[in-house]
Amino acid sequence: MNRPLEGLLVLEFCQFLAGPSAGLKLADLGARVIKIERPNTGDACRQLSIKNLFVDEDSLLFHTINRNKESYAADLKNPEDLEKLKKLIGKADVMTHNFRPGVMEKIGLDYASVQNINPKIIYGMVTGYGKEGPWKNKPGQDLLVQAVSGLTFLSGVDTDGPVPFGLSVSDIMCGNHLVQGIMAALIKRAKMGKGVLVEVSLLESILDVQFEVLTTYLNDGGKLPDRSSAKGSAHAYLSAPYGMYETKDGYIAMAMGNLPNICAIINCNISDLYVEAGSAFENRDKLIVRLAETFKKQNTKKWVDLLESHGIWCAEVLNYQTATNLSTYKKLEIEQELNLGDGKKMKTTVSPIRLDHQKLTASKGAPKLGLNTADINKEFKLD
């Protein structure tokens, strides 16, 4: 396959999730990605496990985020190692880092210094909150960024208090934005022949995720989001029936739709609550409770079949066990197997992007710490 980023060399000085998830995307699109890691410890994510799951000496989490990369061990505080790295940077197309502001300046690998080594480098930086302002030295940690961004008042019900998204959404979106910025920079470099600086932060990324609702807030006189009090409601700004409802044997999700029509189909009387189109907003909470009473009476499948036969947008709510058994899940080939060497294998996801009719599969597992140091020294004559 002719992958778009083939031939490009990326040096990743990042740890944890935001930066490395961007490196993974670039690798799957064809770039060669070398992680630059501290000797003996490496990316701190190597020891950060969930459910105590490890593959050999590294966490499963590390394997998930860092597949399809190489590892070069170097101590940025050791002058010899730093010299070698500068030579390597001279050959690279892209470098990324997520150190706190000031760290790379001290080491002498900030953008201005690196431009002297390689004037055509694309330099990508991830911070928590930008380089200026009172938050610039705060730890760029996902939950904390969610907490200050207002995001926690959008999910769940109003009596819950703040409800964070149950995944590292700021990290992941910031990684996605870094990838976009780096590729735009590569396009700019192809035209102008000069290096480009790309900067993203977790906070700006999580604000971008809220761009629709923030735009509403900025133009409706600063009204804060009004989450429903009814369990299962799914969006502070959308009217009934939008949400998830318990049935006799599970849950059904209802997208936006014509409420009187839906209620006629499921035989739910809302005539006292719904008097005109605006009622779907004004009486949202009561309507959701009323609908919930009806949905409890039948099994999910029965409701989905009935509603879909009328063209209503709905779905059964699935968990990982039922979701991964869908024929569509298999047809989309969401899983791939990685080859970890010594006959060891592990399963994970594939890149979500399909290029020229093909999935961007890659069976190369994550590298052991410093796995490629000797080979890279030799290949780029760094010794």
């Binding site: 769940g156 819950d160 149950g166 910025g181 790309v198 290029l355």
Partner: protein, 387 residues
């Protein structure tokens, strides 16, 4: 100079997924022309969230479609189709998010378009791919959250399924489409080749969950277990979560339990010395923390924890956030203006290139506002006469 200056994007997509990708390309400097159905336009124009109507259209339409032009056409009319084909001959990128089969019927599928323009980059978003059993199901965000297990990660153990309260899957699919298109645009700049990028919301939803679904694939298929209270990640131990204080809330992301006990003056926490207890006994520990943290103000706790480098933060709503210097210094808000002079505030692109913000003052387009100009610029009279 913005990175994508001089590139032309023809965007047939509606709602959020596709249009969020073209917004990103527009902010990076590309010229984006929305192809909109005559008389109606992008359905998002009338998709109201809350009851807010801005200059006759929905607030979300204005957020998603600023910095773009609108070309109003009837794709059942041959003259209009020929004009769109003329545009596609000159385009670098085309985008659509129709259900599988629609573009084939209209004659704007990948094969037909590459016949017009062999180096075009063609991007499409579907809900569930173009082949499987579910290919014709609506690609709607909440439904995608529901069928990919995503709703079992947020909220507490007894909350039932809890959605993430934004159209997150749409935005992820848009981000992935933009990535694929940009990668191909780079390849085009180097090799002058076109490309075909396909993204589905289902694959994008699993990419978002790549850490947790990979755990599921490798831990014997165990389902995620959210904590009973204060859940912020089903797979992480105490203290990870948000806690009520005397006057607000506190987000707490890490810290060994005995150290927290020490710093917070909570003796009950000192007993949890074994590292694995933070996960195994998280409900118990979180209950102790919750009851202790409710006794003092957020500021008091921050003043004890921050000097010890414990990762923690106040929990802000938008009012408090927008008042904060940490927000103001980002210059995240910009004002844009429509052709009729209507002005509104919105957020800007989150990426900085060469130290500059990618801002633009151009508001969203009125339906068909650019027809005359586009026809004059791109369409020869011969094109129309030939039909």
């Amino acid at each position: 100079m913005k990175p994508l200056e001089d590139y032309l994007v023809i965007d047939f997509s509606q709602f959020l997924s596709g249009p969020s990708a073209s917004l990103r390309l527009a902010d990076m400097g590309a010229r984006v022309i929305k192809i909109e159905r005559s008389g109606v336009g992008d359905i998002c124009r009338t998709l109201y969230t809350s009851n807010l109507i801005m200059n006759g259209e929905s607030s979300v339409f204005h957020a998603i479609n600023r910095n773009k032009e609108s070309f109003e056409v009837d794709l059942k009319n041959e003259v209009d189709c020929e004009m769109v084909r003329e545009l596609l001959k000159k385009a670098d990128i085309m985008i659509h998010n129709f259900r599988p089969g629609v573009m084939e019927r209209l004659g704007f599928d990948y094969q037909s378009v590459t016949a017009l323009n062999p180096t075009i980059i063609y991007g499409e978003i579907s809900g569930y791919g173009t082949e499987g059993e579910w290919r014709n199901k609506p690609g709607q965000d909440l439904l995608l959250q529901s069928v990919t297990g995503l709703t079992s990660l947020t909220g507490n153990a007894n909350s039932g399924p809890v959605a993430m309260g934004l159209s997150i899957v749409d935005m992820l699919a848009g981000a992935h489409l933009a990535q694929g298109l940009l990668a191909c645009l780079y390849r085009k700049a180097i090799k002058n080749e076109g490309g075909f990028i396909q993204v589905s919301m289902m694959e994008s939803a699993y990419d978002f969950q790549f850490e947790t679904i990979t755990t599921f694939m490798n831990d014997g298929g165990e389902l995620p277990q959210r904590s009973e209270k204060n859940n912020a990640n089903a797979y992480l131990g105490a203290p990870y979560g948000i806690y009520q204080t005397e006057n607000g809330y506190l987000a707490l992301a890490m810290g060994s339990i005995p150290q927290l006990g020490d710093l917070l003056g909570c003796d009950k926490l000192l007993a949890y010395e074994a590292v694995e207890e933070a996960f195994d006994k998280r409900d118990e520990i979180k209950a102790i923390l919750a009851s202790h943290l409710s006794t003092e103000t957020t500021e008091t706790w921050l003043s004890k924890l921050e000097p010890a480098d414990i990762w923690c933060a106040d929990v802000l709503n938008w009012n408090a956030l927008l008042d904060h210097d940490g927000f103001k210094v980002l210059n995240m808000i910009q004002e844009v203006e429509m052709v009729d002079g209507y002005r509104y505030k919105t957020t800007r692109c989150p990426i900085r290139i060469d130290g500059e913000l990618l801002t633009s003052t151009k508001g969203s387009p009125k339906l068909g506002q650019d027809n005359d100009r586009i026809v004059k610029e791109f369409i020869t009279q011969k094109t129309i006469a030939n039909v």
